[in-house]
């Protein structure tokens, strides 16, 4: 009890200083900041890496606090009395005099509000004189956290304080109902939709129009474990994690129960926790048993459906060939690179890697075959595609006599970047080149030039990045910095990267899967660990050597 009081005091101190903290709720843990402070809510967005176009839910202690900020109506009062505090959020009209930060409403005149029931958070809300903007405490689009440990795993030391309130009772986010215009449910969640519609007489609202509003947590790719999810699965395949809702006689090490008795409330509570465990255990595929679509099962299915949304292929290469006269440089290769994936392109010198990259960049015309980038055919949409891709290689450089800033400015213009100043500032900070901006590019060290080239390659916020030996000739420290940066940037922006490298440790670290090329053909492909196992070697370098030295049928 004493510990709780001291933790609440600590939490208030952080919040009053416009810091963000994690708070427990009955649904999931929230990343909270003072909803009246632009500074605090900006920190929430930044830490969560959430697009600012996506608004946040403001958490209030009671209706009396809410009245200062929102216009309330009879429907709201009915629902409030029945379900609050609890797992339901309302979209209401914002009062003109409201002090709520415009950032969390995305400058609109509506606000999503909620009254959480978790006792600790209620005590906290009662003792502060502002609402808390609190989206789920996870990196945008990943799985919501349901315990303190989940939050710590997600943010690590970047988050200064987590108010520990045990495991979340419900385990799924709140139901969101829009009360502007005709009431309608925007997101299924902790409260069953039937209970809500039972309470609201739809006839009293029949003349009102349904108004479309951008609300939190409704994007198609939300709650994603980042692993393909197969729905309504009757059985699991080899190495596939299988989520079950009732106990099976035959035990399998890949079974994960969210309930052993078909208890949907229990299943909801355990869903996110189970997805996190599966991800931690390194599974690459998930199958889920059919969940009954009743009561909170509706919300479970909604989340599973979103989690299962397939990542799209940003690069699709279909049977491309490249001949130079009689010489076949690339002999009809096909591969895809998914959104948010790094694919390694490996092979000895002369295997066709550079030719392949050249064709993807539109610098080389394939003799036959097709290339699609973001579903656009390269041959017919060269300019549109070049606007969304970029490339770095140690073999090409930026104009040496120009300053770094001039180079970035010129390329920003060539890529028609909006807000050039902000973009250059952002990249300078991320790539630590702020102090180099006024230096002559040709006078920089290899490591500095590499970071500047990377900044140029990211100036247009590419969806697809092609990297040819991005860390060649760099010292280990700078090489590690570049790799870490690429990992984080890919995670943040969900871009696709095709990485040609001879550094096998780099490939093992960064790539989800690799293609092995030799003599213009793909001679093997798969996840690095699978290739190591398949070829009976201890690391990827040995696999590379085995394949490149073998006198295979391809020679």
């Amino acid at each position: 009890m004493k510990k709780n009081v001291s933790n609440i005091k600590k939490a208030i101190k952080y919040l009053n200083n416009n810091e963000c903290i994690a708070i427990p709720t009955e649904t999931v843990y929230g990343l909270a900041g003072n909803a009246y402070s632009d500074k605090a809510v900006s920190r929430v967005y930044k830490l969560k890496k959430r697009p600012k176009s996506n608004p946040l839910i403001a958490h209030y202690y009671s209706i009396n606090y809410l009245k200062k900020d929102c216009e309330i109506n009879d429907t709201f009062i009915k629902l409030y009395k029945k379900f609050c505090p609890g797992p339901i959020s309302f979209v209401l009209k914002l009062k003109k005099k409201s002090r709520v930060s415009k950032i969390i409403t995305n400058n609109s005149n509506s606000l999503a509000v909620r009254f959480p029931s978790h006792p600790l958070t209620r005590k906290l809300l009662k003792r502060i004189n502002y609402p808390l903007a609190a989206p789920s405490a996870n990196i945008s689009t990943s799985i919501s956290p349901v315990s303190k440990q989940d939050v710590v795993d997600e943010f690590g030391p970047k988050l200064k304080f987590v108010l520990d309130g045990g495991s979340s009772k419900i385990g799924l986010e709140s139901t969101i109902i829009n009360l502007i215009g005709k009431p309608h449910i925007l997101r299924l969640g902790g409260i069953n939709s039937k209970l809500i519609y039972k309470l609201i007489n739809p006839l009293e609202n029949k003349n009102k129009k349904k108004i479309k509003i951008k609300v939190p947590g409704t994007s198609k790719l939300h709650y994603s474990p980042g692993i393909p999810v197969r729905l309504n699965a009757k059985k699991n395949y080899q190495n596939e994690a299988y989520i079950l809702i009732k106990k099976r006689k035959k035990l399998d090490k890949n079974y994960f129960y969210i309930s052993k008795t078909s208890n949907l409330k229990e299943a909801a509570k355990n869903l996110y926790k189970t997805l996190r465990i599966i991800k931690k255990n390194g599974y690459k595929k998930i199958a889920i048993e059919k969940i009954p679509n009743i009561n909170i099962g509706e919300a479970i299915n909604d989340r599973i459906l979103r989690a299962s949304k397939k990542m799209k292929n940003l690069i699709e290469v279909k049977n491309i060939k490249k001949n130079y006269g009689k010489k076949e440089a690339v002999k009809g290769i096909s591969f895809n690179v998914e959104e948010d994936e790094i694919l390694g392109l490996l092979g000895p010198n002369g295997s066709g890697k550079t030719t392949t990259i050249g064709m993807l960049l539109g610098l080389l015309k394939p003799t036959s075959g097709q290339i699609f980038i973001n579903n656009l055919k390269l041959e017919e949409n060269r300019i549109k595609i070049l606007e969304m891709i970029n490339f770095i290689s140690p073999y090409i450089e930026l104009p040496k006599k120009l300053t770094v800033k001039q180079n970035l400015y010129v390329y920003s213009k060539l890529y028609k970047v909006q807000n050039i100043k902000e973009r250059i500032e952002y990249l300078s900070e991320k790539l630590r080149i702020g102090e180099l901006l006024n230096s002559i590019t040709g006078e920089l060290s290899s490591g500095q030039k590499n970071r500047v080239s990377l900044a140029k390659a990211l100036v247009n916020e590419p969806k697809v990045l092609l990297l040819d030996e991005p860390t060649a000739s760099l010292d280990p420290e700078v090489g590690d910095f570049v790799r870490t940066f690429l990992e984080e940037y890919k995670k943040e922006k969900k871009i696709s990267i095709l990485l040609a490298s001879h550094n096998m440790n780099e490939v093992t670290r960064l790539c989800k899967s690799v293609l092995m090329m030799k003599n213009g053909e793909i001679i093997d492909q798969g996840k690095p660990e699978d290739l190591i196992t398949k070829h009976g070697r201890t690391n990827l370098e040995e696999v590379f050597l085995k394949l490149s030295r073998s006198k295979s049928e391809f020679n």
């Binding site: 130079y324 550079t354 030719t355 050249g358 960049l361 539109g362 610098l363 080389l364 015309k365 300019i383 549109k384 070049l386 606007e387 891709i389 970029n390 490339f391 290689s393 073999y395 090409i396 450089e397 930026l398 104009p399 040496k400 006599k401 120009l402 300053t403 001039q406 400015y409 010129v410 390329y411 920003s412 213009k413 060539l414 890529y415 028609k416 140029k456």
Partner: protein, 263 residues
């Protein structure tokens, strides 16, 4: 066509020129030396030949016109070569720039480069030799325009060669103007050439431009036909150069020159 991208590429070369005093000096130095030299030669001819008796500034004016042509053509090639030398060529061609945007930007930049060299040279002629190129009147504009188009045309033709054959074509870039100079009849009337050379000269716009410059200065008359033929031939060669550039770009994409440029 995007003006932003055209401006972006222009800026790349503008920064390059303004950052380097030797580059500016190089642009100004040669035209001024050239004009000074031809100024003294024309002074000498004016006092020793009857042909130039009535127009002291004919050789000097033609030298200025030729230098403008030379600077425009070389200037265009230099811009292209600059990308190869700085190993920036691939970056440029993977940027979302249309060929038309690249060419437009280089055409504008080449004009500015040429004017940086030409204006001081023109200004020198008056105090040093008492000659003003403005004596050509309104037709000066048409002659300059015609030379500028032909200079750009030669630049685009050479750049097509660079695209198609790679940096090994660089030497040709420097010699094109010298190859055409004898047929241009820059300092002498076309009749001076053997008949077979005259036939070649007549299918180039240069001969009409320089003949007309001499005609205006010596005879004080205007033969509009010369201006007209110069533009007709310019239009032909300019269209040919653009077509060749596109052809070379596609050929380079087939051959792989774009990806190996600078190596």
């Amino acid at each position: 066509m995007s003006l932003t991208r055209i401006y972006g590429l222009f800026l790349r070369h503008f920064y390059l020129i303004t950052r380097s005093f030797p580059r500016i000096l190089d642009l100004v130095y040669w035209p001024s030396i050239q004009i000074t030299l031809w100024g003294f030669i024309s002074n000498f001819f004016a006092t020793h030949t009857t042909y130039y008796n009535n127009a002291v500034g004919v050789i000097l004016t033609c030298a200025i016109l030729y230098d403008f042509l030379f600077r425009t053509s070389i200037g265009f090639n230099m811009l292209f070569l600059e990308e190869i030398w700085s190993r920036n060529f691939t970056n440029l061609f993977i940027a979302p720039m249309r060929i038309g945007e690249i060419l437009t930007s280089l055409v504008i930049t080449a004009l500015i480069r040429s004017l940086i060299g030409l204006v001081p040279a023109i200004l020198l002629t008056s105090p040093l030799f008492g000659i003003s190129i403005l004596d050509l009147g309104i037709f000066l504009f048409f002659l300059f325009l015609s030379l500028y188009i032909f200079g750009i045309t030669l630049g685009i033709l050479v750049s097509s060669g660079l695209l198609r054959f790679g940096p090994s074509f660089e030497n040709i870039a420097w010699s094109t103007m010298f190859l055409l100079a004898p047929f241009g009849c820059i300092y002498y009337p076309i009749e001076t050439l053997p008949e077979i050379f005259q036939r070649i000269a007549y299918i180039l716009p240069l001969v009409y431009i320089f003949e007309e410059a001499r005609n205006i200065l010596i005879n004080q008359t205007v033969n509009i036909e010369n201006v007209y033929y110069a533009f007709i031939w310019n239009a032909f060669y300019f269209s040919l150069s653009i077509a060749l550039f596109y052809y070379s770009f596609n050929a380079a994409k087939n051959k792989g020159t774009l990806i190996n440029m600078g190596e």
